[in-house]
């Protein structure tokens, strides 16, 4: 799958009768997304904003006569693993996991099965994906009218470990006239289904995308992985990064903001990550407000080459 989502992407919502899921369904439908069904065990026959509810993913596929492209999973942490396995085994290829506080071992299991079956997981602990003006999959950007305000179609791809900051950065890019091609809230946990480096080929294949902005934090090695990817693959997309949580370098062993931010070694610190990103030619902005100009400079520099 190259584009993650477009106007034809169909998806379902697992846990659709939950309070947050009902809102999310409304928001996505209003935005133009194609939600073909929902799953909550024991609630077959109901409807949520006109979307039919089934007992299982397999049942949904059988009765609708089709396997949806994706699923948004928003069920409590103790049940998430089973719900994701269920979607993967039914043949769903794109799974957005909204749920937070899932034990890391469960996440590793879900990701391992997804890799075996050729499925992609976004999250957990994320707000999903938006292709501005086309569709959104997840709570990203909030209600349709709010999402329209913050996300206008444009040329910059956004990947962020923070759901809220995905919108803040996209809004800044929108206000500067650059707009957003696809924004992906990748999740704040220590293990996530799709890292920056793993999503890069998808952005590179996207015709609309001319540059990338990432929001990042201390903890984990996925920035080092991105730096390596960019260096080894001579990526055509210039990248601007924003690093939050620099203060955490003074407080090893403490976690702030997201579960994934705990610094377990020297390579996890903000300072070390900034250095690695810089070495790979990725500019690290000091302030959010600088991002649009840095992106414009990078796009212009690329055009001259």
């Amino acid at each position: 799958m190259n584009a993650l989502i477009d106007q034809d992407t169909t998806f379902i919502v697992q846990g659709i009768t939950g309070r947050e899921a009902v809102n999310l369904t409304r928001e996505c439908l209003d935005y133009g997304s194609k939600i073909v069904g929902g799953v909550t065990p024991g609630r077959k026959g109901r409807e949520v904003h006109g979307v039919p509810v089934f007992d299982s993913v397999a049942q949904l596929c059988k009765e609708l006569g089709t396997v949806p492209d994706g699923s948004v999973v928003t069920v409590p942490p103790a049940f998430t693993k089973d719900a994701v396995f269920e979607a993967i085994e039914a043949g769903v290829k794109l799974i957005v996991i909204v749920t937070e506080r899932i034990p890391r071992f469960d996440v590793a299991q879900m990701v391992e099965l997804a890799n075996l079956r050729g499925a992609r997981i976004i999250g957990p602990n994320c707000l999903g994906i938006i292709r501005p003006g086309v569709a959104k999959m997840g709570g990203i950007g909030g209600p349709a009218k709010d999402a329209q305000k913050a996300y206008q179609p444009g040329s910059v791809g956004v990947m962020s470990r923070s759901g809220g900051m995905t919108t803040e950065i996209s809004s800044t890019l929108t206000a500067a006239g650059l707009g957003v091609s696809i924004a992906c809230s990748i999740g704040g946990d220590a293990i996530i289904g799709s890292t920056y480096a793993e999503l890069m080929p998808m952005f590179e294949a996207d015709e609309q995308t001319e540059a990338i902005v990432i929001y990042t934090e201390p903890g984990g090695r996925m920035e080092a992985e991105l730096a390596r990817y960019v260096t080894e693959n001579d990526s055509k997309l210039p990248i601007v990064a924003f690093m939050a949580g620099r203060f955490m370098d003074e407080m090893p062993g403490m976690s702030f903001g997201h579960a994934g931010t705990i610094v377990e070694g020297k390579a996890d610190t903000a300072a070390e990550k900034i250095k690695r990103l810089n070495d790979a030619g990725i500019t690290v902005a000091e302030e959010i407000g600088e991002i649009p100009d840095l992106v414009k400079e990078k796009i212009a520099a690329k055009a001259e080459v």
Binding site: P77, F105, E112, G164, A259, E287, I288
Partner: protein, 402 residues
């Protein structure tokens, strides 16, 4: 959730990994009794959740039970890096042929758990990895296939270990991996894993860390070990201010208004959400501001929750003003937070216009929120003012550090 050494030993034992003779005591008399039972030279180790206990004098050796008692008394009274010991571990000082290292951690890039094994135990494994990479064996193992020993065997054999050593070490490393998975650990290590004179292996020291997300389903183990729900076991013990913050958050389940961490500045922060708080805390410091605290609001908390968090921050000694700031919100309502922070000021007898340096929360229900702020004369910003500009303005109003 970090485990004390004596707890990690118990976990190893219940999973069938041999540990060196010894026992845990909370007083000097108990230490003496354990030493007498062991009947030989012993080591007395402070049970603290911090590194550097050897250097600090938290580890001592004794030849007699009386000597062990005296050492235990000293160690029990010794504070290390701000931590008082929970007790002492008395261990047999066995004759060791060689020290090994056995560990299991996550590899966040491959997204799988991985073995780390070395025949250079007893020292910092990161140091070994840097200076003697050929003495480190690694290998991932599946989280969905049935657990099998061969992965552990390969990791050990990869550094040239064979013969009876390999066959004795394999089940130990394999069992360590099993308990890592079973108990939601993010770290399980035995260092050193000692080979005794008779060729057998015992764990001499162990270190384990369970992730908080696993706690709800690990209640049985935690209860058996006597770990209370209230024990955070963070790198630093929570302060009273932080405990009070936790209470504010737990009163009702709607939204988050917590994750409070104490700092010693004069600018109180009422900020959110996860990434927004990290960004804003940095931003305040970037302009020379001195935050009094870190916190997170998100997920649409109630007015009273926002109010109680704000009151807690405003009541903290040394706080002159507060800055109320978030990244653009789509779920949390601007008007609800605005109501909460203004109510907090009023209930404490403060003028909101004076106490709230800036309010910068754009997004859902912002028109309603801004109306309320207008009424009380609070300086606020919409999304056209960046998070950094808002933080800068807050610092200007309170005065930067000199």
């Amino acid at each position: 959730l970090r485990f004390f050494e004596y707890e990690s030993r118990q976990i190893l034992q219940r999973e069938g990994i041999p540990v060196a003779d010894g026992g845990f005591a909370t007083d000097a008399e108990g230490a003496k009794a354990i030493a007498a039972e062991i009947g030989g030279p012993v080591v007395i180790k402070s049970q603290v959740l911090t590194g550097g206990r050897m250097k600090a004098g938290g580890v001592k050796f004794a030849d007699t039970p009386e000597e062990a008692e005296a050492h235990a008394r000293e160690i029990l009274a010794l504070e290390i890096n701000g931590h008082m010991p929970k007790g002492v571990l008395i261990g047999a000082k066995a004759e060791i042929k060689q020290e090994y290292y056995a560990g299991v951690i996550y590899d966040g890039v491959r997204k799988l758990p991985t073995f780390v094994f070395s025949d250079m135990g007893g020292i910092d494994i990161e140091e070994v990895a840097e200076q003697h990479p050929d003495h480190i064996g690694r290998g991932h193992f599946s989280t969905i296939l049935p657990h099998m020993d061969f992965n552990a065997k390969d990791a050990i054999a990869s550094i040239g270990i064979t013969g009876s050593e390999l066959n004795r070490l394999t089940p130990i490393l394999s069992k360590l991996a099993r308990l890592f998975a079973k108990y939601d650990m993010t770290l399980a290590e035995i260092n050193p894993l000692a080979q005794l004179a008779d060729g057998t292996f015992v764990a001499v020291d162990a270190h384990m860390d369970m992730e908080n997300e696993g706690r709800p389903r690990q209640k049985r183990l935690l209860t058996e070990l006597g770990v209370g729900d209230e024990e955070t076991r963070e790198a630093r013990e929570p302060t009273q201010f932080e405990i009070d913050g936790e209470k504010v958050d737990s009163v009702d389940h709607r939204g988050v208004a917590g994750n409070v961490t104490e700092f010693d500045g004069n600018l109180g922060l009422v900020i959110g959400a996860g990434g927004g708080s990290l960004t804003l805390f940095d931003a305040v410091r970037r302009y020379g501001g001195r935050p009094a605290n870190y916190c997170e609001i998100g997920g649409n908390p109630s007015v009273s929750k926002a109010k109680n968090l704000t009151k807690l921050v405003l009541s903290k000694p040394g706080v002159d003003k507060i800055a109320v700031m978030m990244s653009i919100v789509s779920n949390t309502r601007v008007d609800i937070v605005a109501r909460g922070v203004i109510k907090a000021c009023l209930e404490l007898g403060y003028d909101p216009a004076e106490k709230i340096a800036v309010f910068r929360i754009p997004g859902a229900w912002e028109e309603e929120g801004f109306k309320i702020l207008d009424k009380y004369g609070v300086e606020y910003f919409d999304r056209s003012v960046s998070m950094h500009e808002a933080a800068k303005r807050a610092v200007e109003k309170i005065g930067a550090a000199t």
